[in-house]
Every structure is written in C-alpha cells, then in structure tokens.
C-alpha cells in the first residue's frame, strides 16, 4: 500500500530559481496546472482549475500549510469530493551543480500512521497480488 509517494529530481539550476518556479503562480501555471490563484503565504487557500471530466470534478483545492523559503513548502491537496485530503510536500536542497527537489504526496494521516502503514506493505502487496492472480 502506498498512501505515500516519493519522487526526487535534480535540476542544474540554483535553489532560488527552483524555489521561484514553485512559488510563482505564473510559473506553476506553466509546469504544474493551469488556472491557479496561489499566493506564497501560510494559510493561503487556492485552487487549480481545469475542465471537469467524468473522473475529475475539475478543481483541486489546496492550502499552503508550510512555507520555509527556499527549502520547504507543504500544501494540502484535495482533488475529489469523496476522496481523502492529501498533502504535497516540496523539499529543496542545494547540491553540486544544482538543486535537488524531493517531492512527496501522502494521504492525510498522521506521519506515524503512514510509517506504520507503509512498513512492509510493498511485500504484502506482492503477496496479495500473487493471491489475486491465482484467484
């Protein structure tokens, strides 16, 4: 099971530039999602808007939860009416020749729950996957 998703990417650009691309609504509209009213301040509620589809209500409601320039930003992220609210976290680290971005997208459970839930779950998924294939 994965209530948690972790991705990492290193960009050959200085950390300030990457931070700006994460916190400028015009930049977000280019690389992330169109139509947002993001503002870089804690407590800011904003939304990304798109065309509704059968499996997507057409907007993602977000809130800035943490803002620590230029290294960390956390958003709440709710993309459906019935789904669980989730959290998206961006972490930036200056590395040789650029900036490493660590992105996590996790279910809205306390961290200890997520840790407990995720430990060993990959193996269980495999076991269950084999089980499903057999039935």
């Amino acid at each position: 099971m994965k209530l948690e998703l972790f991705l990492e990417e290193t960009y050959p650009h200085p950390i300030e530039k990457v931070w700006k691309a994460l916190t400028d609504p015009a930049a977000l509209a280019v690389w992330l999602l169109m139509g947002n009213d993001f503002e870089p301040r804690v407590g800011r509620r904003f939304a990304f808007r798109a065309t509704p589809r059968p499996d997507f209500r057409g907007h993602i409601d977000c809130e800035v939860l943490v803002l620590e320039p230029p290294t960390r930003m956390v958003w709440s992220w709710q993309s459906s009416d019935e789904g669980l609210p989730t959290q998206v976290e961006f972490r930036l680290t200056a590395v040789d020749g650029g900036t490493r971005l660590a992105l996590s997208h996790t279910g809205d459970a306390p961290p200890e729950t997520i840790a407990r839930v995720s430990s060993g779950w990959r193996l269980r998924m495999q076991i269950l996957g084999e089980y499903i294939n057999l039935h």
Partner: protein
C-alpha cells in the same frame, strides 16, 4: 483527473490488526474463531475488524454450519495501488515539465 480510492479501503487498511487479518487470510480462508485465536484482542474486537474489512470489500464470508468462514477478496486494494500509480505518473510528468521550464527561463 485523479480519483482517489474509496476512503473505506484506506480506513480499513490503516489499522494494524486489520492488516494482520488480511495477512492471515492471504494464507487461506479461515473461520472467525480461528482468526481470533491468533490475536490477543477479544473475539468481539476481531469480529468488529472483520466487519470493517467486509464493508470495505476486502473480505467476504460464507456460513459453514454455525460458524462463518472468511476469505480475502483483495481486489479493492488495487484501487489503492492505482491511486498511487496515477499520481506517480502525474508528478513524474510535472517534474519533467518543471525541468523544461527552468531550462527555458532566465
């Protein structure tokens, strides 16, 4: 775009006792009493956990005499995996776009 799995499934697998029940049932079907024997919590508590799993569609039961035999019906867990893999594709694509954006911006 991204539709999350039903909260029921997430809720159901968030509890360690219920995950253990799923693990036990992955070994094969089993009467509730026998499952309860593997836990230190009460039979009533195990029954309650089985009820939550059943409502989430993760286990099914059939009567066998006076007992109920439970089995794993793990297909809903695929929704959880789907949820993640959809977000994974989404974010991988977006991080690449961010790279392109950075390359093209002063």
């Amino acid at each position: 775009m991204l539709k999350a799995a039903t909260p029921d499934v997430f809720h159901a697998i968030a509890d360690p006792n219920r995950r253990r029940l799923l693990d036990l049932l992955a070994e094969g079907e089993s009467p509730a009493q026998q499952l309860a024997g593997r836990f230190t919590i009460s039979f009533a508590a195990v029954s309650q956990h089985l009820k939550v799993l059943r409502e989430a569609g993760l286990v099914a039961s059939r009567p066998a005499g006076r007992r109920r035999v439970y089995r794993l019906t793990a297909a809903p867990l695929r929704t959880v995996d789907q949820w993640t893999s959809r977000y994974q594709r989404f974010w991988q694509d977006r991080l690449q776009r961010l790279g392109n954006y950075l390359d093209e911006t002063k």
